[in-house]
Amino acid sequence: MEKTKTILKAWPLHLTLLAVVLLCEQINTIKIPVGNASIMFLPLLYAMVIGLALYLIKPVKWINDESSKTANSFVTLGISVFIAKIAVNSGAAIMTIVRSGYVLPLVLQEFGNLGTILVALPIALLFGFKREAVGMTHSIAREPNVAYIAQRYGLDSPEGRGVITVYTVGTVIGTIFMNLLVSLLAGLNLLHPYALAMACGVGSGSMMAASSAPLLAMFAEGTTEYTMVSSLAGLSNTFSTADGILMTIFIGLPLCNWLYKVLYPVIGAGRKEKNA
């Protein structure tokens, strides 16, 4: 019963985070207008920032390295209750999704995840990265991709260092960044909220929660739009979990390696080598 005891012993952590959550829900959503659009700040974003601040500033002694380790399984397992709610929403929406032609865009948008290679690889080469660039830009660098690069090149290789860099930055600021990015894109009104919802699934539950939140905040809970946005985001995340690593192995990494060979002599060669 060792694991259970560790969790129970961390009760001050749980009580503190309960207080943090209640405070954040009490503050509620704040909308800041930017031109015609607005950026939305949501309770889940404050909760994450306060959680991080509690660890970094250490105002209370019971939030330390040990609680940080304990918190890890709360993220990976805790998100499943949220996923369950999305699944129930999807159950209500699945017939509409299947009958009204949402399956095709849901499946094909998965290939959009390769957009990272087209956008980020040239920039990484301009910055002077060499083989690191392939590790950095072949995928969104979540756990399965890190594992694959580790197996293929080793983590002490340039490719390995690249994937770890994007993994670390993605872990620390990815959730917050996605939240703000989607909030901005939704405000710009160029892409339909349903299309944005389908893009929210990248194979990480908490990132999906943070990126779909600004879309959900545009609609009232219980409306068709709300159910559709949450279902489309949830289904795209489930798809990404299922196909993400296959996409990396069979398309993402080969495409990235090929593009590296084409682009490196043009924009990479001769630049001073940089470390990530």
Binding site: P43, A87, Q109, V172
Partner: protein
């Protein structure tokens, strides 16, 4: 490939999900500005907890490489899809729990959790950070543009 689930492991994830669900339940009440009935929202959170637990357990005991999120999605859909005998009750009960309040506690723990990566994060150059932001923008915008084009071509939006 044989998977074994120990009692300790089972109790561990049950306890973790129970704590998250409990925090989310109170958070949901605060989020509704205390207008929702606290007691009425209990069955909904128990159903979600049940789905999450069954899905996670299936992923651990069934000797196939199917992640928990897929089991959870399938169970949730089956319970709520029209025509399913449980659909009316499940949709009604779960409807009393807001979606975003379920994510808030998880992200509070995520904040504490990423704290330990902070030292590594600080060592990364601004170039590494900018490339990461481009990776995220590329993935997200790539998917959204494809989805939008197809939705538009099909005349849905």
């Amino acid at each position: 490939m044989k998977k074994r689930l120990t009692l300790d492991e089972f109790l561990e994830y049950t306890l973790i999900m129970l704590i998250i669900a409990a925090i989310a339940l109170v958070g949901n009440w605060v989020s509704s500005k205390f207008t929702a009935s606290f007691v009425d929202s209990i069955p909904g959170i128990l159903i979600l907890l049940g789905i999450a637990l069954v899905g996670t357990t299936l992923a651990k005991v069934i000797p196939l490489k199917i992640p928990a999120i897929i089991w959870i999605t399938v169970i949730g859909i089956l319970l709520a899809v029209e025509g399913s005998p449980t659909a009316a009750y499940v949709t009604e009960a779960v409807g009393k729990i807001g979606l975003l309040p379920l994510a808030t506690p998880v992200l509070a723990y995520a904040g504490v959790n990423i704290g330990k990566d902070w030292a590594e994060f600080k060592k990364i150059s601004w170039r590494g950070i900018l490339v990461t932001l481009c990776v995220m923008i590329g993935t997200f915008v790539g998917s959204a543009v494809i989805a939008n084009i197809i939705l538009y071509a099909q005349g849905i939006v």
